[in-house]
């Protein structure tokens, strides 16, 4: 049971006995309690967002003043091999991290959500990789992928030649993907397990009485009932992958030869080391638009089945 459950289940509170009219003390307190947050969001979210839109139409380069150049940054993007390469790598990276992570996490979470002492202990262990900081994780995987590291040792047991995982332009992206799948799996197992445990038990009893097999129960009962949790996991994992900066930065530095230069990395590199702020802002806008479209599609796709 989640700590927040009882409260969340309540229907949304209405204005109650006071009706829609507000009282003066409430209005004063409401403004006073929200003012710091309101100011903060305006200064550090709304203004920067509007500024980013403006910068994306300029040639701003840190030194000097921004000049309006219309859509030139956006046009430049689609002729820039670096951007096109990064966009493509981001697509590959997102698909190849999200799908295996969710499938593997489901395969673990479904049996793990069943009661029992062993499962309770295993559930606690799964949290360990989930709370490992990404920076620490990346350092460990650099060693796992080193020439004499664990990856080559274990694959050597099944007769695979040692590889230079992080310095080969064919392998580096897959090395990154494996690490990220591992890292996110713990998190998603926990979320899915919690979702599975919240499913009504009676449905399963009824299915068992009707002689439903494990596979039928999974596809006909578990998956549909779990749809909300799955949608949540899908949305956060896609969004997380599309903005992932740290793995590429720490494991490969976007290399070798741009092979792991995901879009967030390319944006950062353009904005900070190279100071092409206007161009980077425009690419940020494209990334944001892509994220909004993809989220909307996911909601549409999974909500479509409701009722």
């Amino acid at each position: 049971m989640s700590v927040l459950d009882g409260v969340r289940a309540r229907p949304q509170a209405t204005a109650g006995m006071l009706g829609r009219g507000r009282t003066r003390p409430q209005a004063t307190a409401g403004v006073a309690l929200t003012l710091p947050v309101a100011v903060f969001f305006v200064v550090f979210w709304l203004v920067p967002f509007l500024a980013a839109i403006y910068l994306s139409f300029t040639d701003y380069e840190m030194a000097g003043t921004p000049n309006w150049i219309g859509l030139a940054n956006y046009e430049r993007m689609f002729a820039d091999p670096g951007f096109l390469n990064s966009a493509w790598i981001t697509v590959v990276y997102t698909v190849c991290t999200v799908v295996p992570t969710i499938v593997l996490a489901l395969l673990v979470a479904v049996p793990l959500s069943k009661p029992g002492r062993l499962n309770r202990r295993l559930r606690a262990l799964v949290m360990i990789p989930a709370v490992m900081p990404l920076a620490a994780t990346s350092m460990v995987w650099v060693i796992i992928y080193s020439d004499r590291g664990m990856a080559n040792t274990l694959l050597g047991l099944v007769g695979i030649e040692p590889q230079s995982w992080l310095t080969s332009s064919d392998l580096a992206i897959w090395a990154l993907v494996v690490m990220v799948v591992w890292k996110s799996m713990g998190l998603f197992v926990i979320i899915l397990t919690a979702g599975l445990q919240a499913l009504p038990g009676e449905v399963y009893e009824a299915a068992a009485i009707d002689g439903s097999g494990a596979v039928t129960t999974f596809t006909r009962i578990t998956l549909p009932l779990l749809r909300r949790t799955l949608l949540f996991v899908l949305v956060i994992s896609v969004a997380g992958s599309m903005q992932a900066f740290v793995p590429a930065f720490l494991l490969t530095g976007g290399g070798p030869a741009d092979a792991t230069q995901v879009l967030p990395y390319y944006i950062w590199a353009n904005a900070f080391p190279y100071e092409h702020m206007g161009y980077a802002a425009a690419m940020g806008m494209v990334l944001l638009a892509a994220m909004v479209i993809v989220s909307a599609l996911q909601f549409g796709f999974l909500k479509g089945g409701d009722e």
């Binding site: 700590v3 969340r8 109650g16 947050v37 500024a51 990404l134 460990v140 060693i143 664990m150 904005a271």
Partner: protein, 269 residues
């Protein structure tokens, strides 16, 4: 039936074993005396205490650790305070601008940091906060997630309770401090934990805003660790292990709040 149970147990043990393998490798390499064996499979003595002592004595690890703690505890406490006030007010008080503020919070939930870092950096630069603690801390001080989490939770506070207090003549601030805050405690602990863990892992912003080593938190320090200890894998791994300890302790102490934070929004609303 019985075979199925055993098969399931075997699968789970193998799967969880694989999930823990890199953590085990970290322990092994972090305890190694040198870089001769990087397989991370068998312990070659247990030199972890010596390695830690070395890093605390000769590297900047204590500075990074201190900076990370200041950053995470500082912004975590501020986030909890401001989100508690705003989340409660948005759920339970009627005041002008409530709808606009809610739209602002929901809108910011959708924004990606990659869009904001450039203008926020320019603002911080304008304020003269580059290479300062406030520059690292203030822009990430309040999270839309926090305000939203507290608001959703505060919607569940019974109206009658607040009304009774008002009838008794309690002022609005007193009601917030004495009635709402104690009831919101689970949400506030969850928020602190989620904030702490996210901030502990924040590499991008400090990387952009702090070039002075004195200010670096752990992720940035770790990213540049080779400049301190050379290509010294086992010591880098020891540093990574030290980095993982505080989140681990928090997770053990506050496990159910952690799960609640992770699944917030994932279950039925």
């Amino acid at each position: 039936m019985r075979a199925g149970t055993i098969l399931r147990a075997v699968w789970l043990i193998v799967a969880v074993g694989f999930m823990l393998l890199p953590v085990y490798a970290m322990l092994v390499v972090a305890s190694a005396p040198d870089d001769t064996d990087l397989r991370g499979l068998v312990f070659n003595g247990f030199h972890l205490p010596e390695n830690i002592r070395l890093l605390f004595g000769e590297a900047n690890l204590p500075t990074y650790l201190r900076n990370s703690l200041i950053l995470c505890v500082g912004t975590g406490v501020l986030d909890v305070m401001f989100s508690a006030a705003a989340g409660y007010a948005m759920a339970q008080l009627s005041f002008p601008g409530r709808r606009v503020l809610f739209a602002l919070v929901i809108g910011t939930l959708a924004l990606t940091p990659m869009v904001l870092v450039i203008p926020v950096f320019l603002i911080v630069k304008e304020l003269g906060w580059v290479n300062t603690f406030q520059g690292m801390m203030v822009p990430g001080m309040i999270s839309a997630f926090g305000v939203f989490l507290v608001r959703q939770f505060a919607l569940g506070i019974p109206k009658e309770l607040l009304l009774a207090a008002r009838v008794d003549g309690a002022g609005e601030f007193r009601i917030f401090a004495r009635i709402a805050v104690p009831l919101l405690k689970p949400a506030l602990i969850t928020l602190f934990l989620v904030h702490f863990l996210a901030q502990w892992d924040n590499l991008l912003w400090p990387l952009i805003v702090a070039n002075e080593q004195e200010l670096w938190p752990l992720p940035v320090g770790l990213a540049n660790f080779q400049s301190e200890v050379g290509f010294n894998y086992h010591l880098t791994t020891t540093a990574a292990l030290v980095t993982a300890v505080p989140p681990f302790i928090l997770m053990v102490a506050l496990q159910r709040y952690y799960v609640a934070g992770l699944t917030f929004g994932g279950l039925k609303r």
